[in-house]
Amino acid sequence: MATVDLKDVRKTYFGNVEAVKGVSIAIPDKALCVLVGPSGCGKSTLLRMIAGLEAITSGTVSIGEKVVNAVGPAERDIAMVFQNYALYPHMNVYDNMAYGLRNRGTPKEEIDARVRATAKTLELAHLLERRPRELSGGQRQRVAMGRAIVRYPKVFLFDEPLSNLDAKLRGQMRVEIKSLQRALGVTSVYVTHDQLEAMTLADILVVMNAGEVEQIGAPLDVYEKPASTFVAAFIGAPPMNLLPVAALSAGRTALAAPADAATLGFRPEDATLNPRGGAASGNGAAGLSLDMAVEGVEPVGAESFIYCRMAGERLVLRAAGRTATQTGDGLSAMVETAKLHWFDVAGKRL
C-alpha cells in the first residue's frame, strides 16, 4: 500500500529547543516500525509529524512516495490510535467509527458495511450502540483500533496505545495488534517506551534518544549488536551489564580489550556461573572471568536474577530456573569472548 520515508526530519520549538534532530528512516510497505525510547526522546513528536499534527521544521516526510509536508492530517490517508483512545464521548461505538468516513463523504451503505465488518473482526459487534463510558478499558482500546481500521488508510500510527491497559490485557492486545497488522498488511508506525512491546512487535526497531536515532534494525539484531551503550542499556530486561574497562583488574582480564575500549558489556544471560573457588576461570573456551559478591537474588520462577557487585559496579546475572546462590555468597562468572560487547569513550560500539 505505502512506504513511509523520513529524510533528515527536524523539529525545533520556540526557535531553539530541538526536539527531533535530523531523523531519517525508510519504512518499507506493510512493515511495522516501532519507535522506542525514554520519555522526551522525540518519538511522539516524530509520530505526530508523520500524522501532520505537528509542523515539520525541516526535512521531508513522504507517504507512498509523495511528500506530504504541506498536506493536512485528514488528507494524508493515515489513521491514528491515541494513548487515551480519544473516543468521542457523546457518540456511540458505531458513530465513533463512522465519523471519519462520514466526513469523507463515503456512501451510507458502504459506511455501514465497513463498520459492521470491522466491528466483527474486533469482536465489537454487540457493543455498537454503547457509549465509550459504558465500555471497559480494553473495549475502548478496540474501538480506537476499529476507528483506525475502518478507514482502510495507507498508514496506521499508534501512539503508546497499550500504556493504559493492565499488564495481562496489554500482552493480549500486543499479540492481536501484531496479527491484525499482518492480516491487513498496512504499513504502521508504533511509538512506545516499553522495550518488550518494541521487541515483540517490530519488523523494524528504531531506538531513539534525545531527539536522535541511536540504532535502526531488526529487533534481534539490535538486541545482539547494540550500536551504543544507550541501546545496550535500554533494550533487554534486565538491561545489559556495562562495566568501565578500568574497573577490570588487569590480572583477571585474560583477554585483550580493543584499543579504544572504554566500556565492556555483556547480557545477564550470557554469563556462566560458578561458585567462587570453582575451576571456572580460564576453563574451556576463552573468555572473561569475573569474581563478584552477591547482593540479592530474585527468583521469578522460570529464571532467577542475581544482583552482584564487583569493584563498586552493580551487575545482574540470569540463571535458568532455581539457583542455589544466596545473598552474601561469592560468585565467579564466565563470559565467552564472542558474547562480549565493547564500546568506546563516546559509547559507540567497537
Partner: protein, 282 residues
C-alpha cells in the same frame, strides 16, 4: 448518617416545612390577593383563601389593559419580557461560546490580549457604563426597540470564561482525533464541541434567562413607550404612592404572572441545569 433516628427525621422535616412555609407564604398571599376585588384588598384583613375573581382579574389584566400604564395589557408586557430574556440568554450563549472557542482552540496574534480584554469587561457592569451606552443607543435610534433592550446586555465575560474553562478540559487528543477524522474547525465545533457543551449551555440558559427577566435599570432607561415596557417595569409603574390610585388586584395578577416564566424555565430545565453544574463526564 444524620436522620437515622425517627426523632431526628421528625425535627429535620419540621424545620424543612417551616422553611418552605416561610418562603412560599408571601407568594401564596400574592396569589390570594390576585383573586380578590380591589375593595377586598383595600379593606383589611385580607382573606387567607382565594376569592372568586380569578378569571375576571386575570382576564382584565392580560387582555383589558391596565389604566396606570396607559391601558397596555399584561400580555404585551409578558411578551416584551420574554423577547428580552430569550434574546439576552440566547445571544449571550452564542457570543460567549464562539469567543471561548476562538480563544481556546485557535492560535492568532494577540490571542491573550483579547482574552484579557474580555476578562476586564467583567469589572464593567451595565450600571458603570450606562451613560455612554445610553448615548450610543440614542444615536443608533434604538430607544424603544427590542434591539435596544437586548444588545447592550448581550456580551458576557462570565459565560465566555465558563465556556473557556470547560473547553480547556477537553483533551488535546480529542481535537487531534477529530482532525485526523477530517473534521474542520466548523465541523469540530458542531459535531464534537456543541454536543459536549449541552449541559453547560442548559445551565447557563437558565441563569441568563432569569438574569434577563429580572433586568430593571436598563429597560427603565431605554423604553419610554408603555407598550415596550417589560413586565418588571410595568409592575413598578402600576404602583402609585397613593393607595387609592393603585389597582392592587391587577398588580397582584401581574406579580404572579411575572414570577411564572422563570419558574417554568427552572422546572422544565432542572434536570439539565443540575447536570450542567455537577457533571464532569469526560
Amino acid at each position: 448518617m444524620i436522620g437515622s433516628s425517627p426523632l431526628r427525621t421528625y425535627i429535620a422535616h419540621v424545620l424543612l416545612i417551616l422553611g418552605v412555609v416561610l418562603v412560599a407564604f408571601p407568594i401564596y398571599y400574592t396569589f390570594v390577593a390576585s383573586t380578590q376585588t380591589l375593595q377586598t384588598i383595600l379593606r383589611p384583613p385580607l382573606p387567607l383563601v382565594p376569592g372568586d375573581r380569578f378569571f375576571a382579574n386575570y382576564y382584565e389584566a392580560i387582555f383589558g389593559g391596565v389604566g396606570r400604564i396607559g391601558g397596555v395589557g399584561v400580555g404585551t408586557l409578558l411578551f416584551n419580557s420574554t423577547v428580552m430574556a430569550l434574546g439576552i440568554a440566547v445571544g449571550k450563549i452564542v457570543i460567549s461560546i464562539l469567543s471561548a472557542y476562538a480563544i481556546v482552540f485557535f492560535r492568532f496574534p494577540l490571542r491573550m490580549t483579547f482574552f484579557w480584554l474580555i476578562f476586564i469587561t467583567l469589572m464593567l457592569p451595565v450600571e458603570v457604563r450606562i451613560l455612554p451606552t445610553y448615548k450610543v443607543m440614542v444615536d443608533f435610534g434604538l430607544i424603544d426597540t427590542y434591539a435596544g433592550l437586548i444588545v447592550p446586555l448581550i456580551a458576557s465575560a462570565t459565560a465566555t470564561l465558563l465556556f473557556r474553562q470547560f473547553f480547556l478540559t477537553i483533551p488535546g487528543e480529542l481535537v487531534e482525533a477529530a482532525r485526523v477524522d477530517g473534521a474542520g474547525p466548523w465541523k469540530f465545533f458542531k459535531d464534537i464541541l456543541l454536543p459536549l457543551s449541552r449541559t453547560n449551555i442548559a445551565a447557563l440558559f437558565v441563569i441568563l434567562f432569569i438574569y434577563g427577566w429580572t433586568q430593571y435599570l436598563w429597560p427603565l432607561l431605554v423604553t419610554n413607550r408603555n407598550d415596550m415596557n417589560t413586565i418588571v417595569i410595568g409592575l413598578r409603574k402600576m404602583v402609585s404612592f397613593a393607595d387609592a390610585d393603585t389597582e392592587w388586584h391587577l398588580v397582584m395578577v401581574t406579580a404572579v404572572l411575572a414570577i411564572l416564566p422563570p419558574i417554568l424555565v427552572v422546572v422544565l430545565m432542572q434536570r439539565w441545569f443540575v447536570r450542567g453544574l455537577i457533571e464532569t463526564e469526560k
